[in-house]
Amino acid sequence: MNIVEVNNLTKIYDSHSPRGGVVALDRVSLQIQTGEIFGLLGPNGAGKTTLFKLLLGLLTPSSGEVQLCGHAVAEPLSRLKVGYLPENPRFPGYHAGTTLLALTGRLHGVSQLEIKARIPLLLQLVDMEKWADTKIRKYSKGMVQRIGLAQCLMADPELLLLDEPTDGIDPVGKVEFRQIFLRLKSEGRTVVLNSHLLSEVELAADRVGILNRGRLVKIDSVEALTSKRSQFEIEADLGDELIDIASEMGTKLFLSAQKLVVELRHEEDINFVIDQLRAKRIRIRSVKPLRVSLEQSFFETITEVPQGLA
């Protein structure tokens, strides 16, 4: 089941201006399934925050449709089971951590009993018990992010939209946040992460969408984006053996006494390479497909010239 449905979504800022406005999102279609962690990536100005704001009804689409939790975003009900952490949140500074969480609960229609029960659990989850009664205006950036994540969870949400959630969080906190995301996923919740920290998305997300210049240029699983299926690294006792790869099969990228890296036209041709090594009585210690980082994949994607812009 799709918890987020975006069809042909276009957003043009200042569309009535004589210059025709600024296209922030251009015919974006996207489906996010229940229970997955989805990473939204893109350079600055790609349209990530605009997409989030359209999902939450903070902006009105120029055209296209958006549905959240089965409801059109124009309906307030679509946000009943949604937690949102904005980029650079400015929560009312006159609230303390606990009163902000209580306010969030009340605005979501959570009962007083549940509010009282959830607050200590959430404060513990984000490691903010010590600062529970301190005014938010005295919080550091990292503490605001932590309490922001807690308020996202106050209404027991099915969907979390987190815009740069680890901004200002220390490295230990980042690991804790990642563990929270994974725990939320294990509870069947959907998490949509908008982050510049590609390594963070790589470690947590199941699928990734890459936005560039308002277009969704790639959407795939992290696994698919980071594996170079035709490249393999073989660790073996190669010694001085000369290993030849037929040109129609692929190329040899690297060869040393201990390691061979090959790039094959077809993945299944790795069997021929292994057969060749075995025929030469070479002891093979490991064969593994080579992976690229999400960062590399991201840069390759956004530097490709999109069709129609060339």
Binding site: L58, L59, L77, P86, Y94, H95, R106, H108
Partner: protein
């Protein structure tokens, strides 16, 4: 409503506005207490507006004027103090927090308006009542008709808040909200004499414009004068100020809701 109301009270407490109202109330109580040594009835025998009135009426009238002035000051302060609440709520980053909750924008705004009215209305009523009770005790006179003044104070607050809320939504600027309320206050004071002004204007079209403005704009000062009159037994002769003022407040709220629904954040 509960959430927004508590949020508004939390902001009020944090901004220490309560202390200002408390301080003014204490000063007013001290001033009223100081009048206990003045034998107001002595003046009844002397020349003045009240020579034909009974001593108790004169005391009541003085108290009504004192409470009326005090309530006017509180209303002015409440309008100024609350003018920033909506612009603050809609500022970048904070608007995201409120507007992404499962409530329609219209409902959020009306709840905020009601919360402001209840909170500040409560303070104005409480302060006014304390001062009136002290005055009533000191001068041993009490009249339930003073409720007209308290009632009209709540109506006037609803009018001023409708202006500050609407301009706050439109401009997201506290100074603009305060300025708009001030301009309306000046305009309604001038337009109270619209018939006299008409005498000096030759053009019929301009006379119609002046009359039109009089009927469109709210008339909180006229309402207050009428309530003061009711407190001392003068009947209402002109019923125009009440419905036109309430209609203006409703129109401002409808405008504010429409603008907020269309705004992008």
């Amino acid at each position: 409503m509960n959430g927004i109301l508590r949020d508004t009270i939390a902001e009020l407490i944090d901004r220490k506005i309560l202390y200002v109202f408390l301080g003014i109330t204490v000063i007013a109580v001290m001033v009223v207490a100081a009048t206990s040594s003045v034998d107001l009835r002595v003046q009844v025998t002397g020349p003045g507006d009240f020579s034909g009135d009974s001593p108790s009426l004169f005391v009541e009238s003085a108290i009504v004027k004192l409470i009326g002035g005090f309530l006017s000051l509180l209303i002015f302060l409440a309008a100024m103090a609350s003018a920033s609440l909506v612009p603050n709520m809609l500022e970048k980053g904070r608007a995201d927090f409120y507007l992404t909750k499962p409530l329609s924008r219209g409902s959020i705004l009306l709840k905020k308006y009601s919360a402001i009215w209840l909170t500040y209305g409560g303070i104005v009523l409480a302060s006014g009542l304390i001062v009136y009770l002290v005055a009533a005790l000191v001068h041993r006179t009490a009249d339930l008709r003073i409720a007209y003044l308290f009632g009209v104070s709540l109506i006037n607050l609803s009018i001023w808040f409708s202006i500050t809320v609407a301009v706050g939504v439109l401009t997201r600027s506290t100074p603009m909200a305060i300025m708009a309320a001030f301009i309306v206050w000046v305009a309604q004071t001038i337009l109270a004499g619209h018939e006299a002004i008409g005498e000096f204007i030759g053009s019929t079209a301009w006379k119609h414009v002046i009359d039109g403005l009089y009927y469109v704009l709210p008339k909180p000062s006229a309402l207050f004068d009428q309530a003061t009159g009711l407190c001392v037994g003068r009947p209402i002769e002109d019923w125009i100020p009440l419905p036109t003022s309430l209609l203006f407040a409703l129109a401002m709220l409808a405008f504010a809701v429409t603008v907020l629904k269309r705004k992008e954040f």
